[in-house]
Amino acid sequence: MINQPQSLADNEKWLGRAMIAPAIVYIAALVGVPFFLALYYSVSDITVGSKEMSFIGLDNFRHLLHNRTFLRALRNTFIFAFVSQALVLVLAKALALSLLRDFRGKWVVRLLILLPWVAPISLGSIGWLWILDSVYSVINWSCRALGIFGPMTWPIWLGQPTLAMASIITVHVWRLLPLATVILLGGLTSIPQDIHDAAAVDGAGFWRHNFQITIPLVLPIMLVAMLFGVVFAFTDMIVIYVLTRGGPYDTTQVLASLAFFTGIDGGDLAAGAAIALFLFPVLAVSAFLLLRLARRTEVT
């Protein structure tokens, strides 16, 4: 037994490599390869039907930068992601604080708060489509019944550019709030009670306590919540696809939805790929920041 040459089942080095190989191959083939294909497509003239493609340099990008729909989509993408994240962080902090203490029936409350995150977003968005309906909107009905809207006021939530943008931001906030809340809650519960007690003994009031103790301590985890939220909001096209399809008149188009409508519905794969690639810098920055955070927490 002892003198036998080591079999693969015992050789840690080779066993380790063999066990991780399938995962690496799968990811390389279906994330790595398509990613480089996307880079290549963006400098080509490929369409859905074409058998051949030729290199056309940066023409796709040059055309995009003169395309008003694209510029609008680029701007919208940033507005949607950052406005919704700012709202999510403030709301999530408030919600996490009120979920901190234990009470009876907490699990039901948590389930109800988590629903938007755990239910498929394409289906949740349809719920909103009905709530924001142009004729039967329950919001309009309620506001009129309560006297908030006069007899002449009847907003068409998804049909007017500003209202449509506000509606989409609301649905993003609705969708991402639960995730940020649960992440923050994890951060808040990990602060030792001693620190809170010491601050109370020293006479720190609510705001001071919040801004000088709680927030600095949960800052790294808040950043994690924010980065994931930005990535989700930035790359999402589902909410837009279901609620407005980018309308009215492309005023709510974002990069992801425009890439879909151009590349798949329109068949211009090259332009679609070029549009989607504009998302990449933001993702790269997010990944970089996450790694920085990882390193910092490792040191301390």
Binding site: L30, P120, S122, A273
Partner: protein, 284 residues
Amino acid sequence: MSAGMYKAKAWGVKGANFGILAAFIAFTAFPFYWMLMTMFKETRDLMNPNHNPYLFHMRPTLEHLRVLFFDTLYLQWLWNTAFVGFLVVLITLVTAIPAGYSLARLTGKTGERLGIGIFLTYLVPPTILFIPLSKVISSVGLQDSLYSLVLVYPSFTIPFCTWLLMGFFKVIPKDIEEAAMIDGHSRLGAFWKVVMPMSVAGVLTVVIFTFTLVMQEFVYGLTFITAASRFTVSVGVPTFLVRGDVYFWGSLMGACFIASVPIAILYNLFVDRFIAGFTVGAIK
């Protein structure tokens, strides 16, 4: 301050807390409550602007659900989702379990970097990949086939599940495997006979997450599939039931409610582990 004032203040804090929570729940859960109300209401009741939408003016009806289950492809879509989900779970388990173990025990410092690298691929969104993948799928002849989804979905379930399982394997004490190896098991044998039975909870978590990720996926499903009978539920309902000018709101809301709430409850049971994988994983 007297004891009474303390008590009053405590009640005040409790009351404020309760109010905040109630407001948030109204925001997060209202669309689902609204789905539930709508799916049982007569269309004539829904479409009468003079009716208070919060009340039933006619007897609740099951007609919308009958239409949904018998006159649409809804059951077929649910079945498609289950079929794809099952196969993706299988592929994910077969690749992510060994990979997670390898990262946790066998690859050392390089493995740690590799692990972070694998996790970061989770950040590469379908939005960048769906255009080249659509070409790849059609060149291998899988367009309009459920197998295109079976092939592509593991590309986002494997990274996340590998990462999650690595965390599970790391907390199992090394002594247990070493004892098994002294007893004559090989390294692989120790993993299979000793570590795996202790990791049932981790594997179960992976199964649930993989399934919910499959259920939530939309972009690839929309891109690769065009035949209505081969949609998954998250694509079929918004594209096929919504398209056209006539909205069958009752059936539509029923479709959304039935497909989302059970999976939400299931997911809820595992959400803490999920968040641990998300954050501790990301920052440690």
